[in-house]
């Protein structure tokens, strides 16, 4: 007789094994490692959140203390490899296989453990891809999640840092999985319910509040004149030109400069209300001046940001907010929003080649993909039109074909050299060498050149939509590659011709004098300025306070 309910039974067994550690659903911190050894099984797929920002740090520490003879060969399926403990799991032989998306803080450790043979890499995914696979072939057996608070029934409140959790837990809970949550406290009544208690099996109150890294805070004092120049060009040459109202900004100083130029430079250009109104964006503090100046209609966020809670609560017209008044984020929904419902993505990168392919991979660093490949990609499945999308689509073809597609604007904004004199424009991406070294099926490419519509450097804007041949594309890129070797090898005649066709536009072509790019144009010049703009509602983390 075929057993069609084996998963439910296996789950009941695990819960039974964990029962000796619980009162109701509550587990004591001292019993947590033992609990995990009881409910997790060797070879399990496990998601130890591992989000971009919030970390189930106590559960990570407890799991890393498990006996490798009891727990081994686990298959880690989580979006972020962030904490040292995430790497420890592999070093200790508790985990063996890895499927993930992003590894910022551990980007140097990943190549190291790969080389050591302690990690069997499944694949590096984008966020949406990994969440999607939770519902097809990478469903977690166990999810270790993190929330601000729980009630006795196991309902969870996550506040602004909801992030990945709903997607992770839904897949796990509805496919025979076990869900363990670490929380800061247990309360009688939650402000709101982010995860219903019947999806949660165990709750432990961690000794310390969970850690959240401030990832989206950029100090305006560090923005350079060259970044301001590139931002001015992006605003005048792209945002204004295409009428970009719906957009997503990757994180970085270049985009922070754009955000801080809206109330000043863009205001002078008469662009308020015409651009930058609807956002798929994390709560960047650098957008505060634009919000306060009335530029922004609404923002949906992938995650939250340290110090922004009170500001968002006071600006609930702008952010997605629960009935309790606190913001609610969703990595999955915001990634979808950025992919399908915006007309422009703009972000920075480490390397770009002559086709416009870009990568953040270097010889000793694998940071993964995160969300950029889906934000910075043309959405072929899109069907609803918008002005910018249609305009970009028309630029990509000649004449008026019967069947037309629009194009999402995918903009790479880079300085031709990084701080360490490393050129951003290269003939061959380091990623290709890395793929060879680690025998990867695919060289990790963050954004493919055929999705890129524009590249902005301090030297100008290259419009790749208007290029018709590979040679034009190459010279358009060389033509804005500044004094890098790639740039110095340009065909000067061809570049001049491309400039006549407006494929390359220099600052002067846009009516911008590079010497006017000055820090005084920034609506806020310091973290303190941002705080003042917010009426002191924004509470900058200590590491950013120099007053």
């Amino acid at each position: 007789m075929t057993d069609w309910q084996s998963e439910q039974r296996a789950r009941d067994e695990r819960l039974a094994a964990g029962r000796k550690f619980v009162t109701g659903k509550m587990v004591s911190p001292n019993d947590t490692t033992a609990l995990l050894e009881a409910v997790v099984r060797p070879k399990d797929r496990i998601c130890l959140e591992g989000d971009n920002q919030k970390q189930a740090d106590f559960l990570a520490a407890c799991l890393a203390k498990a006996d490798p003879k009891v727990l081994h060969d686990l298959h880690v399926v989580q979006s972020g490899i962030v904490l040292p403990e995430h790497i420890d799991l592999f070093e200790k032989g508790i985990a063996k296989k890895l499927d993930f998306s992003f590894s910022g803080p551990q980007s140097h450790a990943i190549p190291r453990v790969l080389k050591s043979g302690k990690v069997e890499l499944g694949a590096i995914h984008t966020y949406i891809e990994l969440f999607a696979r939770y519902f097809v072939d990478l469903t977690p057996h166990v999810a270790l999640t993190v929330a601000r608070s729980a009630d006795r029934a196991g309902n969870l409140y996550m506040g602004p840092n909801t992030e990945d959790s709903p997607a992770v837990i839904e897949a796990t809970a509805f496919k025979g999985g076990v869900v363990v949550a670490q929380v800061n406290e247990v309360v009688e009544t939650l402000p709101r319910v982010d995860i219903p208690g019947d999806r949660v099996d165990f709750v432990v109150v961690a000794p310390k509040a969970f850690y959240v890294e401030p990832l989206f805070t950029r100090d305006p004092a560090s923005i350079t004149e060259i970044q301001i120049l590139a931002a001015m060009m992006a605003i005048k040459g792209i945002y204004a030109e295409y009428g970009i109202k719906r957009l997503n900004h990757g994180i970085g100083f270049n985009t922070a400069a754009i955000e801080l130029l809206l109330p000043t430079y863009a205001e002078k250009l008469g662009l308020k209300g015409k651009i930058a109104t609807h956002w798929a964006l994390n709560p960047h503090p650098t957008l505060i001046p634009a919000i306060e100046s009335g530029w922004v209609k609404q923002i949906h966020s992938f995650g939250s940001e340290v110090g922004m809670d009170d500001y968002m609560r006071a600006r609930s017209d702008i952010y997605f907010t629960g009935r309790d008044g606190s913001m609610s984020s969703s990595r999955l929904y915001c990634q979808l929003a950025g992919h399908y419902a915006t007309d422009l993505f703009i972000g920075s990168t480490l390397q770009i080649d002559l086709n416009g392919n870009s990568s953040t991979v270097t010889a000793d660093r694998i940071a993964g993909f995160g969300g950029a490949p889906n934000m910075g990609a043309d959405a072929h499945g899109r069907r609803h039109p918008s002005e910018p999308w249609l305009k970009a689509g028309r630029e990509a073809v000649d004449g008026h074909p019967d069947l037309m597609r629009g194009r999402k604007l995918v903009v790479q904004i880079v300085e031709s050299f990084s701080e360490k004199m490393v050129p951003a424009f290269v003939e061959k991406l380091d990623s290709l060498d890395l793929a060879e070294t680690f025998k990867l099926d695919l060289a990790p490419i963050m954004i493919y050149g055929d999705d890129v519509t524009h590249i902005v450097s301090e030297e100008g804007i290259a419009n790749l939509l208007l290029c018709r041949t590979a040679e034009e594309r190459e010279q358009a890129i060389r033509g804005i590659a500044g004094f890098t070797e790639v740039g110095r090898r340009r065909d000067r005649n061809m570049v001049e011709k491309l400039r006549e066709r407006k494929i390359i536009r220099r600052p002067e072509d846009l009516g911008i004098n590079p010497l006017d790019a000055h820090r005084s144009l920034l609506a806020a010049r310091s973290i303190e300025d941002l705080m003042r703009w917010s009426g002191n509602l924004y509470d900058p983390p200590n590491k950013f306070r120099n007053w």
Binding site: E225, I226, E415, S416, F417, E419, M421, E458, E459, G482, F483, R488, P514, L515
Partner: protein
């Protein structure tokens, strides 16, 4: 430390009456540029002291581009480099010549 010197012929004299100007600071990623109006009208000299060796070709290209753009005839330009990127160097040279062109 590496010292580089470039001599160029400029199309015409840099306009303005300022006899000297200084811009920038010797700091990491930055540079200081001293401009002195002391040479014959169609001559331009650029002298660079830099702690980063091996970038001669890049300096040459930046200076050549600057001379073509600004025609800084009559200027002796002296640079103390703190390890600045080429685009920063170019920007400072342009800022410097703009200061010299002021009346």
């Amino acid at each position: 430390m590496e010292t580089l010197k470039f001599r160029h012929t400029a199309e015409r004299r840099l306009s303005g009456t300022k006899s000297q100007a200084i811009i920038g600071v010797v700091a990491s990623g930055n540079l200081e540029v001293l401009l002195e109006r002391v040479l014959p009208e169609t001559m331009c000299e650029v002298e660079i002291a830099t702690p980063l060796t091996g970038y001669g070709e890049t300096w040459k290209a930046v200076v050549a581009e600057f001379v073509e753009r600004s025609s800084p005839g009559g200027l002796r330009i002296s640079i103390n480099d703190g390890g600045a990127r080429p685009d920063t160097v170019y920007l400072r040279l342009m800022q410097g010549s703009a200061l010299m062109e002021a009346e």
